[in-house]
Structure formats: C-alpha cells, structure tokens
C-alpha cells in the first residue's frame, strides 16, 4: 500500500470516531475508560500507567466492584472528597470568611476525618452545629464562624446552604428566604477573642432555650429531614453528573443512602455500579450517555504534575501568620481556599465564599485553552518529562504508548501509532503537547 492510500485509510479511521461506539467497541477500551473515570471521580487523580495496564489485563470476576472498593478505602478518596466538603463548608482563612490559618488546618483535618471514617451525614451535621469553644481547639466550632455575614441571618443562610440544598438554578432567592426563616436558631451565637492571637471562642449568649443551633438540628432531623437527607445525594449527583438528581434517580439513590445508614460510601458503591455510571461517553447536545466534565482545577493541576513530574509550591504571605505548604503538595490537598495559584484561578477553583455548588466553574474558556496550548511553563514541564531517563531510552513506538497511557490512560490504537511514528516527524515533547490539548485529557469522559 502506498503512502497516500495508507494515509486515506488513517483519515477514515479518524473519521469513524465521530461515532463513539466505534472507539469503545473493545472490552479493553471500555475497561480503560472505566479505570480512568473511577480514579478521577473517587480519588481526583489519573490512574498510573501500571494501574491501567493491570486493570485491563485483570481476569478476576467483578473487577470493577473490587476497584471501587479499593479506591474508596484509599487515602486519596478522603483527600479529594474532603476538598469537596470544604467547598460547601467555606474553608478559607481570608476574606470574606476569615477563619484564619490555624483554624483552617484543624477544621480541614476534622472534615477529612469525617470523610475517611464515613461518618453518617446526620452525625456530622450534629457535630458541626453543636460545636462550641475555641476555633483552634474545637475544630467543629468553626462551622459557626465560617460565614461571610456574622449575623443570625448570615449563619442561617450558611447553615441552609450546607445542610438544605435547594435543587434549582435560582437557589439564591431561596436562601434569602431561609436566612430569615431560620435566623432565630442562631440568634444567640456569639464570639469572643482570647489572649491568644486570632483565637476565638464560639458560645451562646443568654436567651430562649429553643433559639439554638441544637434546635435547628432537631428541625433538620424532624420536619426538614427530607431535604436534609437529600442534600448529599444531590451533591453527589452534581459532582459526578453535573446536575441535581432528577426525581427518579433521587428516589433510587436515597434508598441506598438510607440503607447505608446515611453514609456516603454505600451510596457511592450503589452509584458506581449503576448502568448510568457505566454508560459510554455522551455526544454533546444529546441526552443519552455519560456526561463529560472538565477536570476540576485542582485535579487538572495534579494530573499535569503527576504526568510530567512537575511540583507546585503553595504559600501565602497574607494574612499573617504566613503559610508555606510543604513542597510537592498536591493541589487537592491545599486546605485553605485562600491559598491559590494563577492556574487554579484560571481553571475555576471555587472561592468558597458562599458554599454554593455553582461557585466551582468547570466551564472551558479561551483563556484556559490559550494556557494549555502555549504556556511556557507547561512547555518546560513537558520538556523535562521527555528528558527523564526512563522515558528517553524507550523506542519511539514505546514512547507513544507511554505518553498515551500517561495522559489518556489507554494505549494508542493503530491509527494513532501510525500518526505519531510513521506519518509525520513529531518529537515526543510535541506528542505530549497534542495529548495535553485533547478533550479526552482535559475532561473526565
């Protein structure tokens, strides 16, 4: 076959991909897809090359369930889902929440422990609403500090956003209503400073016995229980599928959540085993199929670091005391919403000002694509990656394979091998650049 004919064949192969079914016709391709999807959704990271290859090769029965179990038991699950919890609990040291650094760290540790131990939702909410005392010594007391408005209305709004998710695009108005309706429960909450710098005690002033956060908790478990228990379910649906749970799904998932004792992991096991979760990627604009999501800012940042070997240094020189996070800190582990980077800002990390889910912006923008196309920093990181000894000594075909497994968590197909090893003279660094700029890499599909 001549070059031109071969090229036409390759073009056809690419054209055929318009139909996704074609790209996922093999078990191997579907396994790779699920392996990547589960790692991203449960641990907020890409699977390593070894993990993908082992998963594809594995012949054990119920291997997907086993993967889900092992990922849910991992440290990284707690890291990643704690980040999500910290988003709606507004964990940040600076304006407008002003928890201050020491308090941020103890509060984050407490939240992460709740995720790691799979604390039941009602127990966790109770612990937060009952928290009194020092912001440095009683982590839970920070819940009643983590609001932009330190008024009964402000606290009622913050508590409603955290515990009473209102599934609507126009939730702001609903929360205005809640902030007035439940303000009385927070009317006695007060704060005083101590002689320790930036320490603050949360306590209750004198007042009527039914005007307490405890009474609000009773309301959550009583008349408001339907919304209260649906809240984590909607959040999980939002995080995984990008929308609030439709009624049918809500009822189904609520069953799993209830029978699991209001713990998240049994709910997640149920979700990950569902046919909706195992569906092939959706075609944009069409209803069927699994919806793609642009990787969270933190996850994308970590993915680039994992692939290229780059490291990030996070620090904050305002407010005092200054914070310097240990080197090589993963972005999803940056506890403080006030500590950020140009990258995280660019890719829509939530400011944690309100705790609304909509604060996280996973939309793709021209500025983001400019960065991925052309950032000098990224280009340097790709350069360092291909110079790495283990990679540099591979033969060209193996290099292509390695890059595909690193970026896209799957081996290349024949057309892709052809494109990058035969047809054109493209350097490994350039191949990496191409993969970095694919929707397949930038999105969880």
């Amino acid at each position: 076959m001549g070059g031109a004919a071969a090229f036409a064949l390759v073009q056809d192969a690419f054209a055929a991909r318009a139909a996704d079914v074609h790209a996922y016709s093999s078990t191997q391709a579907r396994d790779a897809l699920m392996c990547r999807r589960l790692h991203l959704d449960i641990c907020g990271r890409l699977p390593t090359r070894e993990e993908v290859e082992a998963y594809i090769a594995s012949r054990v029965s119920r291997k997907q369930e086993k993967l889900v179990d092992s990922l849910l038991a991992s440290k990284e699950y707690a890291d990643y889902w704690a980040m999500r919890y910290c988003d709606f609990l507004r964990v940040k040291s600076e304006f407008p929440i002003n928890l201050w650094p020491n308090a941020v760290y103890v509060y984050h540790r407490r939240i992460r422990a709740a995720v790691a131990n799979d604390e039941p939702w009602n127990d966790f909410a109770r612990a937060l609403l009952y928290g009194r005392g020092s912001n440095f010594r009683v982590p839970e007391s920070n819940f009643l500090r983590a609001t932009a408005r330190r008024t009964p209305e402000g606290l009622a709004e913050a508590a409603s956003i955290s515990f009473l998710l209102y599934p609507s695009e126009n939730s702001t108005r609903k929360y205005e209503e809640y902030s007035k309706k439940y303000a009385n429960y927070f009317s006695r909450v007060a704060w005083k400073s101590t002689r320790e710098w930036k320490e603050e005690l949360v306590y209750l002033k004198d007042g009527p016995a039914d005007a307490t956060p405890e009474a609000f908790m009773a309301e959550l478990e009583g008349p408001l229980s339907k919304t209260f228990y649906a809240t984590p379910v909607h959040r999980v649906h939002w995080w995984l599928f990008g929308t609030y749970a439709p009624t049918g799904t809500l009822n189904d998932w609520m069953g799993a959540f209830r029978s699991g004792g209001w713990r998240l992991k049994p709910l997640l096991r149920h979700v990950f085993a569902s046919s909706a979760y195992r569906a092939l990627p959706a075609t944009p604009g069409k209803k069927n199929g699994f919806p793609a999501r642009r990787l969270d800012a933190e996850v994308l940042d970590d993915a680039i670091c994992d692939i290229t070997g780059a490291v990030r240094a996070f620090e904050s020189i305002a407010p005092e005391p200054f914070s310097f996070l240990p080197p090589k800190r993963r972005s999803i582990l940056v506890e403080d919403g006030s500590i950020t980077s140009a990258f995280l800002l660019l890719f829509g990390r939530p400011p944690r000002d309100s705790g609304l889910l909509e604060e996280r912006n996973n939309a793709i923008t021209a500025k983001q694509r400019l960065y991925l196309y052309n950032s000098g920093k990224l280009w340097d990181e790709l350069g360092a990656m291909v110079k790495e000894e283990r990679f540099a000594k591979l033969d060209p075909r193996e290099q292509v394979k390695d890059l595909y497994l690193r970026f896209l968590s799957r081996p290349p197909d024949q057309a892709e091998y052809f494109l990058f090893t035969k047809k054109e003279d493209v350097s490994p660094r350039d191949i990496a650049w191409h993969l970095l700029n694919t929707r397949e890499f930038i999105y969880r599909i």
Binding site: A23, G154, I364, R369, G376
Partner: protein, 404 residues
Amino acid sequence: MSTPAQTKAVASAPRKPAQHVIEIWQWGGPCQLETFDPKPDAPHDYNNGLKSIKTNAGFYVHEWLPQLAQCADLYSVVRTLTHPFPGHEKATYIMQTGRQAGGGVTYPALGAIVASMKKKDYEGDLPPFVILTQAKGRFSEVGFLGDAYAPLVTGGDPNAAKFIVDGIVPPGGLTKEQLAARFARCERVNRVAVDPEFEAAGAAARRIIEGPAAETFDLSREDKAMRERYGRTRIGQQLLAARRLVEYGVPYVSINYSGWDSHKKHFETMKRPTHEMDQAVSALLTDLRDKNLLDKTIVWMCGEFGRVPKIDRQAPWNGGRNHFPRCFSALVAGGGFKGGQVVGKSDETTDNVKDRPVTPVDFLGSICELAGIDPDDRLPNPKGFKLNVMPPASEIGRLKEIYA
C-alpha cells in the same frame, strides 16, 4: 478655521465618553511627598532636605519628577485621597472596588466593571481586561461578575528580548507554519465526540495566537527611539505595551507596578524607581497625545495608600516610611479629565487633608463617569445582585471640577 458659531456647537455637544482606561497601580503605596505633593518647607524629618520643581502648569511636583514636570498640562493631580485602611489588603480592596472588604459579597475591581460595561463596543479577540504582567495578589479581580471579565494576565517581561506572553506567544520559537501544522494535527488526535463549547474556546484561543492580537505584544514592531523614549525599564516597556493594547482596542489595561512599599531606607531605594516612573509615565502621556489617543483614554495612577509623612529613622526602618491612608496622591489624565489642575489641599506635612477630601468611591466613580458608565446605574451581573456600579458618591462629590 471654524466660525465662532461652530466652535460653540462643538463645545456644547456632549463629550464622547472615554473608550479606554490605563491603570498604573503602584502596589505597595508610593509616597505622596516624593511624588505629587512635595513639602520643601516642612521640617527635614519630612522631606529629607529634598526640593520641589515647578511644572509647566504652574503647580509643583517633587524634584524626582523632572519629566512629568514638563508635561503637567496633560494630567491633573489629586492630593487628598483618603480612606481608613492602613493594611495592604483592605486598602487595595477599597481602592480597586470602591467597596469595603467584608459583608459577604466579593466585588469586582474597576477593570472588570469597565470590561463588562464596555464589552458591547469592543470587537477584539483579546479579553477586554488585560493585566501587565502579574495579577494583583489574592483578591479576585472579577468578584461576582464571573470569568467572562477576568483579566488576561500576560506574565513575561516586556523589557526582555522577546515579550513572551504566557499562552499567546508560543514557546520554543515556532513559526506560523509549524503552529498551523500543530493545530491541524491536534484536530485529528481526538477520540471523543466533538464538543461545540470546547471547540469554540479553542477557536477563540487560536484566533488570538494566530491573528493580529498577538502582534500587539510584539514590542519589536516599535522603532528603537520609541522604546528608548519610554525607557528600557520594565515599567517603561509595560506602558509602551499598554499603549499598543489601547491602539488594538482593549477597553481596560492595568499595570501592576510593584516596588513602592518602602518601609526601609526609603530615600536610598525609591529614587531610581521614581525616575523610571517619571520617564515612563511622561512618555506615555505625550505619546498618547501625539497619537490623538489621550482624549479617549483615561490614565490613572496611584497605590492603595501613601506613606507616613514623618520619616522613621529608627532601626530597622533606617529612614523608611510606613503605610499612610489618611492623605495621599494620585495622577489622572486624559479621557475627559482636564490637565494642569490640582484637586485638594493637604496640610504643611501631608499629615491631614486640609481641603476637599477625595474618597475612593468618588475617585473611581469619576473614572466610571468619564468612561460613559453611570456609577449610580445598576451593574448587571450573573448572580442577580441588585447593586449599583459604585456606592453613592459622598456629599463633596466626584471630581467634576476637573471634568473637561
């Protein structure tokens, strides 16, 4: 020659609002005494024995500003900016947004406001708000306006051999052809279905990379004399880049100009940067005038506050000046601001405002007003907040006395 009747008609026609704003943000807070409010007659502990010079408009500036003294007809000086916040963050916040920090809403900075209100008149590929070269720290510059008005932060160094704008100028010195081949190949390395949103973002990015927008940042297109005129300094070349961005059409350009936080050894450290500023800003103003751009471009320059008038001779400051928000200065020019004027009067040391205090709200509101944005009008926003562009002006009011 126009007849008197024609002149009158022109004069009474409503002024066209400014189309562009260049903000020169002196991060850290420059000293009012060594810039636009010199006090040569104050005790030595205030002026360190330094003098002032008379400008071509008749008022005086510090002796470190000889070039700005020669073109004072092009700008006016506000000597009585005042607010209560001595910390960088809260001070920056109020000087950038017109709002006090706190209260649960993160407000947009002036750049994002102007970008959002002027975007309808702007057709360029570059975002309507560009920052040279680093973002202003942690405060979100967009606030509740959302990503659409987030600034493009250039990174890079305009004074380097090549101004590498992160994201726009491809690293590795690719030619246009190599770039085109890359993008073409990129289209084919795509297993998953095409997503219109992803493609649109990519197409917008490629228009910037491959089109005239990228050339805006290519300062080598300016002749050598012009580059020298601004000064071969970082600030000089940043202001030259700012002028090119205005020519391209960008509504709001902000220069994040750090280096003014002179707690220690103020006089030893500030002389050179002040000279660089003098050259760069006077070059910008005269260049904008020469190119007939000054009329439609507002230039404003100040920091988040000024500096304590009395020099702190104690260790560890050793002749330094700390933060001082009670009375400090700013420069405004073009776009409907008169030149050659002085607003407000400080006392004999600049410790206090003596006459006509100017609040941040009145100051920023004036810029909005001249840019054709009514500060008392609603600020449309994706969150549905019912808020005006700026809080209400003070009783003393906006800077109407220097509106042309």
